[in-house]
């Protein structure tokens, strides 16, 4: 399996780590319980699996992320563009925007991003 491929639940769990790292594993259990509705054992199982895949790291009961959130997002978005739009970014943007109108600010920001990427 590709290392960055995350199931919905794994992604949500990783988000908790990204938002709170470095985080004590006991605190992470509590967080998962309130945010995800998970039992302690579920949290530890998922944590172990993500550590084995080199996405998270659990050292002396402190959990940190090895892969950055942006990396995971990059992978996810590329998968979507590849799978559904034949890797064509313009096609993806067209579909994504659809009927939606962009605000002035959003359009500015997009323009800046595209210019930076083209440079």
């Amino acid at each position: 399996m590709e290392p960055y491929k995350l199931f919905d639940a794994e992604y949500k769990f990783a988000c908790l780590v990204w938002d709170h790292e470095p985080v004590n594993s006991t605190d992470l259990v509590k967080l998962s319980q309130t945010k995800l509705g998970w039992k302690k054992s579920t949290t530890y199982t998922v944590l172990r699996k993500l550590c084995e895949r080199g996405i998270l790291k659990n050292e002396e009961a402190t959990v940190t992320a090895i892969i950055k959130k942006t990396d995971a997002q990059k992978y996810e978005s590329r998968t979507v563009v590849d799978k559904a739009f034949n890797g064509s970014l313009p096609q993806f943007l067209t579909a994504f925007l659809g009927e939606k109108k962009l605000s002035e600010k959003e359009a500015e920001e997009l323009k800046r991003i595209i210019e930076e990427a083209a440079r």
Partner: protein, 487 residues
């Protein structure tokens, strides 16, 4: 184990009749809200759950034994028992003790007896148990699999959890039921789905469906019950669909149907598998039902309520209500004995010739014999009855002296049990075709002999129909070879 199997078989057959009745009623209620069809299935469940207090394996066994003795084939067994199983139903009053003794009886026999019927029954029971074990382990396994899959489902709110590892929403959990939904549902879809699943929870369907499946597991050999389970699940889903439409109004129909359809499309071969999960199934029929659903008129609702209530009560509560009349008409005889007539003509005094005549009329008359009246000896002790027969069809019916004698002795013992103060019974048969013209065969049985044969006062069997049946069964098995004196 065999007797347990027979009990289950009995219940299964009874339930099949009820299931058929439900299916017919369901057809009549096609236009009515599906909740009524759903309720109807409770009658079948009750039939399958109410244990031996209503059905006793006793009578079935009693009827199986003589039948296999007579050398009838195996194939006749099931239809025969179908007829027979109605008998124990009439007698709701069969005591638990007599049931226990009688169900214990056959267990002792298989080792010593070469009776093929019992071996067949024994093998059938083994197959039955094996089937249950296989089915149960399969469903436990698939339940464990589903549980593993939804372990990492994440909380959305309250008892709503989402996960990308399932494709169709369902309710799971026995004590704290939770709704599990696939990820990526739109708000519109979500509201329909939640309403549907909440209805399941409100109705305790998450208990009913597993319970129904466990019952089905025990009766796995009955295809009619598999059909019933499928139809019940369908009714369950449809009535939940209807409740969504009722709550959200007719405008929801279109988007609700779309939701169902899109969920069905998502489900690409990856079946949830577990019979305990909800959702899925019959999407086409369900959409049709949703679109056709109309709020029932009060008239319709009242009518449907009446039909379902009548059927559920009639089929489940009291076996005497619905089960009684057809049984009387279809099965008045027990092994050829007219039980009603025998009990009606039970008498304390042999001098009552009308009752004695009635008793003889209630017993099977051997083929080729014609009654020639009875003679009562009531002047002095010991009192007795002589029953006269004449062979009427020329063929020497008495050639097989031993077996005809058996029938007469059997009847004699029955008369001794039902006529309190009689001391002996004689059957006298003349055969005009016999070379020694005018000679008579007589079979006499005294109360003393009868008590010796059965080891107890036969009058105790005359108490009621149940006991009398036991006597008939015992007599069928009794060996008369060395008894009596054919003259």
């Amino acid at each position: 184990m065999t007797s347990l199997f027979l009990t289950i078989l009995n219940m299964s057959i009874t339930a099949s009749y009820v299931a058929l009745a439900v299916m017919i009623a369901r057809f009549l209620l096609k236009r009515a809200p599906k909740i009524f069809s759903y309720i109807l299935w409770s009658a079948v469940a009750v039939r399958l759950l109410i244990p031996v207090s209503f059905t006793s394996s006793f009578s079935l066994l009693g009827l199986v034994l003589p039948q296999s003795k007579a050398g009838t084939g195996f194939m006749e067994f099931v239809p025969q028992s179908m007829g027979m199983q109605k008998n124990p139903m009439v007698d709701a009053g069969i005591s638990g003790i007599s049931r226990f003794i009688n169900s214990a009886l056959p267990a002792a026999v298989p080792a010593s007896s070469a009776n093929p019927m019992q071996i067949v029954l024994w093998i059938a029971s083994i197959i039955w148990i094996t089937g249950i074990v296989v089915l149960l382990s399969y469903s436990v396994l698939s339940y464990v699999r589903v549980r593993a899959r939804i372990r990492t489902a994440t909380l959305v709110r309250d008892r709503l959890f989402e996960t990308d590892r399932i494709t169709t929403p369902f309710v799971c959990g026995f004590l704290k039921p939770r709704i599990y939904i696939p990820t990526g549902l739109s708000e519109q879809e979500l509201s329909c789905v939640i309403l549907h699943e909440e209805t399941h929870i409100r109705r305790r369907d998450y208990w009913i469906k597993p319970l129904a499946f466990v019952i089905l597991t025990v009766h796995w050999f009955n295809p009619l019950l598999w059909l019933s389970y499928a139809l019940m699940s369908k009714d369950m889903e449809m009535s939940c669909d209807e409740s969504v439409v009722r709550e959200m109004g007719d405008r929801i129909k279109g988007s609700y149907s779309t939701t169902l359809l899109s969920l069905a499309v998502r489900r690409s071969g990856l079946a949830t598998g577990s019979p305990l999960a909800f959702g899925e199934g019959n999407i086409k029929a369900r959409i049709k039902n949703i679109l056709a659903y109309r709020r029932p008129s009060p008239w319709m609702a009242a009518g449907s309520m009446l039909v379902s209530a009548a059927l559920v009560l009639g089929c489940s509560a009291n076996p005497k209500s619905l089960a009684h009349p057809p049984q009387l008409s279809s099965q008045p005889l027990y092994s050829g004995y007219d039980m009603e007539k025998l009990m009606k003509n039970k008498t304390l005094y042999v001098g009552n010739h009308i009752k004695v005549g009635g008793l003889i009329g209630g017993m099977p008359r051997p083929n080729g014999l014609e009654g020639r009246g009875i003679e009562l000896q009531t002047k002095a002790q010991p009192y007795g009855v002589t029953v006269y027969y004449v062979a009427n069809d020329g063929t020497a019916v008495l050639k097989d002296g031993a077996s005809s004698g058996e029938a007469f002795y059997r009847n004699s013992i029955l008369m001794l049990s039902l006529i309190d103060n009689v001391n002996w019974i004689t059957y006298s048969i003349t055969d005009p075709a016999d070379p020694d013209d005018g000679s008579a065969y007589t079979f006499t049985l005294t109360r003393e002999q009868a008590e010796k044969m059965l080891g107890e006062d036969v009058r105790s069997y005359g108490k009621d129909q149940t006991n009398l049946r036991q006597l008939i069964d015992r007599l069928e098995r009794l060996n008369f070879k060395e008894t009596g004196s054919a003259v």
